[in-house]
């Protein structure tokens, strides 16, 4: 996977997703996309624009507004020779597909003693501050990360998005793929041509020595911003992104915390019983004898996401808040 010599281009997160899909659609005739307004409309986020023109409506299928059924159809099609990519417009709607993902997709391989496989991808979104209110703003990846049998990817950059999505499509298991809808227009360097990124391998987004900031998805940029600020006051923060919550690269997170002896976990899901809880407790356990301070968690506020911009902005961890927390943990006043 030597990317170094490849020509790099700046493309958006949305373009990276589209590239990954287009490449896999070209590579493997079994791959198809099904979802609401995915074809001509290219989804409300326009992430799939152009695909139907290249691949036709048989492979980019507009569906009725039936999240549960298209997910279950993904399961059945995956079992019988296809590689479906099911598009669930807003991550909040995963509530509608929980039975098909949790009780069907996740358990099929195990329950059948290994006889059947479910190589499907459920792509969906996450992320607040779009002024979309309580039913269109949640980051519900913790719900899926709880379930054995599923894999969950949650990329933070165009580069990771493309590589992880290609891996997801080639995986033999059901993968839930969460894209922060606020990042679709963010740009980043992506090499030309083919590459994949393995699941369960965390990525150090910025090396550092005084404190570890574990961050996911949109919170990686927040953590990097905080790290810049921390650098200004002489604190070196290591920002590390697990990239997949399931499987979770526990070892890398623990090693980083052992090295820095302090850790903060930042994630955009609800804080209570969320992703920060798992990661914080993994680190607090694994790095116990190395920690100079308690592992701190920063998730979304434990409130339904309010519409009013002045309130909504309070619910998500900010650069400043992460900076403040890190400063305090490092004993600076």
């Amino acid at each position: 996977m030597s990317m170094q010599n490849r020509p790099m281009r700046e493309i958006t997160f949305g373009e990276a997703i589209r590239e990954a899909l287009a490449e896999e659609l070209r590579r493997d005739p079994r791959v198809f996309i099904i979802g609401e307004d995915v074809a001509e409309a290219g989804t409300p986020f326009k992430v799939l624009s152009g695909l139907v023109q290249e691949f036709g409506p048989e492979r980019i299928m507009d569906s009725p507004i039936s999240e549960a059924a298209i997910t279950g159809m993904g399961v059945g099609a995956a079992m019988t020779g296809m590689r479906p990519v099911v598009d669930i417009m807003f991550g909040d709607f995963v509530t509608l597909v929980m039975d098909q993902m949790v009780n069907q997709a996740a358990k099929m391989h195990y329950m059948s003693g290994g006889s059947w496989k479910v190589p499907m991808v459920l792509r969906t979104t996450m992320g607040a501050t779009r002024r979309s209110a309580a039913q269109h703003s949640q980051s519900l990846h913790a719900l899926l990360s709880h379930i054995p049998g599923l894999k969950v990817a949650i990329p933070s950059t165009p580069y990771d998005a493309k590589g992880l999505l290609k891996t997801a499509i080639r995986d033999e298991n059901p993968v839930v793929f969460f894209e922060d809808k606020m990042m679709y227009r963010n740009k980043g360097l992506v090499p030309e041509g083919e590459y994949t990124i393995p699941f369960g391998v965390a990525d150090v987004k910025r090396p550092g020595s005084d404190i570890t900031i574990v961050a996911t998805s949109s919170m990686v940029a927040v953590a990097l911003g905080a790290a810049d600020k921390l650098a200004e006051i002489g604190l070196s923060a290591e920002v590390i992104d697990p990239r997949t919550t399931l499987p979770l690269d526990k070892e890398a997170l623990i090693q980083s915390a052992k090295k820095t002896s302090r850790a903060i976990v930042v994630d955009e899901g609800y804080e209570q019983y969320g992703v920060t809880a798992e990661i914080a407790s993994v680190i607090a356990d694994g790095a116990f004898y190395y920690l100079d301070a308690p592992v701190k968690r920063m998730g979304a506020m434990n409130v339904p996401i309010p519409f009013s911009p002045v309130l909504e902005d309070l619910t998500v961890p900010t650069e400043q808040a992460v900076f403040d927390m890190a400063k305090t943990l490092c004993g600076r006043v």
Binding site: F93, R131, A134, L314
Partner: protein, 341 residues
């Protein structure tokens, strides 16, 4: 359509006098909704409104015709395209705008926004941003009404896209099984977002409720008189304990799926839009009838339009000036206060 038009032709003309008032009132409500939505669009395009809104323009006759058949105590549930339902059920323009702008004075104290307007005062159980998401809530309210014997009827509004959601069938089954006082109002505006309903719905829409034995009628949703007369019959039927009904209204949204949906050429033609706007406009249709049957002068309509426009302008201005909620409110109302255990 022919079906609906047949019915209109067959409908007895209402007795004059009372009806002029009644229908002028409906005209006013429809005009108010339209003025409201035009203002919403303006607020959006001038970047004064956070987020998006789904405009109801073109569909006014459905909300107004149906809600005119309800008492204030009756309940409705509404949708992402809900401003019309809320206003027709009795919400005030100023507090609606305040909500859309995320202000404290809004119906939800700024926490709900365009897609979640709710108001116990006018019997509005809330708009819902999950397509079909209120099908069971509405049915549960009807169950409660039956249990409490309070004579209330519930109207569940939804777009034809909601016929894709299994929940609706589960709920309709129980409504019919237990003869609940509910009217399911399906607004077939022809599109699920950017996809024509024929591409997403097999068979005939009206057969869906009939599968559960639910009494079903289809009307021209652009004719407020027809909508009203039919809804009234179905509501009174429900009130008498004769069970649920399903009212399928053929209608059209003039604007995009939401305020940002400007280029619509890839999913529908300008001709189609023009046909509905010019030939099937609910305000024009009602005005024409009132002019013809009762010699109501054009100036009367102009007067109404001016007055609702003034109300809308004042309401928007109120909302623009109104304060945002205090930051401390972010953690309020997560839970309702409960008795000590």
């Amino acid at each position: 359509m022919t079906d609906a038009m047949d019915k209109r032709a067959a409908g007895n003309p209402p007795a004059p006098g009372m009806d002029v008032e009644l229908y002028l009132g409906m005209y006013e409500q429809m005009a108010k909704i339209r003025a409201f939505e035009n203002k919403v669009n303006e607020l959006y395009t001038s970047a004064k409104m956070p987020g998006l809104s789904h405009l109801y323009i073109g569909e006014e006759a459905v909300a107004v015709g149906v809600c005119s058949a309800l008492t204030r105590e009756d309940y409705i549930t509404s949708t992402h395209r809900g401003h019309g339902h809320c206003l027709a059920k009795g919400a005030q323009v100023d507090r609606m705008f305040a909500e859309l702008l995320g202000k404290k004075a809004g119906y939800c104290a700024g926490k709900g926004g365009s897609m979640h307007i709710a108001d116990p005062q006018s019997g509005n159980l809330g708009a819902n941003a999950i397509v079909g998401g209120s099908a069971a809530i509405a049915t549960g309210a009807a169950l409660a009404a039956k249990k409490l014997g309070n004579g209330r009827v519930v109207v569940c509004f939804f777009g034809e896209g909601a016929l894709g959601q299994g929940l609706l069938y589960e709920a309709m089954n129980m409504a019919q099984l237990w003869k609940l006082p509910i009217l399911y109002v399906c607004e077939n505006n022809q599109y699920n977002e950017y996809t024509h309903f024929r591409e997403t719905a097999a068979g005939e829409l009206a057969d869906r409720p009939k599968a559960f034995g639910i009494h079903t009628e289809t009307v021209d949703g652009q004719d407020v008189r027809l909508v009203y007369e039919t809804a009234q019959r179905l509501v009174e039927r429900a009130r008498r304990g004769e069970g649920p009904a399903f009212l399928l209204c053929e209608t059209y949204r003039y604007h995009g799926h939401h305020v940002g949906d400007i280029d619509r050429s890839y999913y529908r033609s300008k001709e189609e839009e023009r046909y509905w706007q010019e030939q099937r406009d609910p305000l024009k249709t009602l005005a024409d009838w009132l002019s013809g049957a009762f010699q109501v002068h054009r100036s009367a309509f102009e007067q109404i339009e001016n007055s609702v426009r003034a109300e809308v302008e004042a309401g928007a201005e109120f909302a623009i000036q109104a304060p945002f909620p205090d930051l401390s409110e972010v953690t309020e109302h997560v839970y309702a206060e409960s008795p000590d255990a």
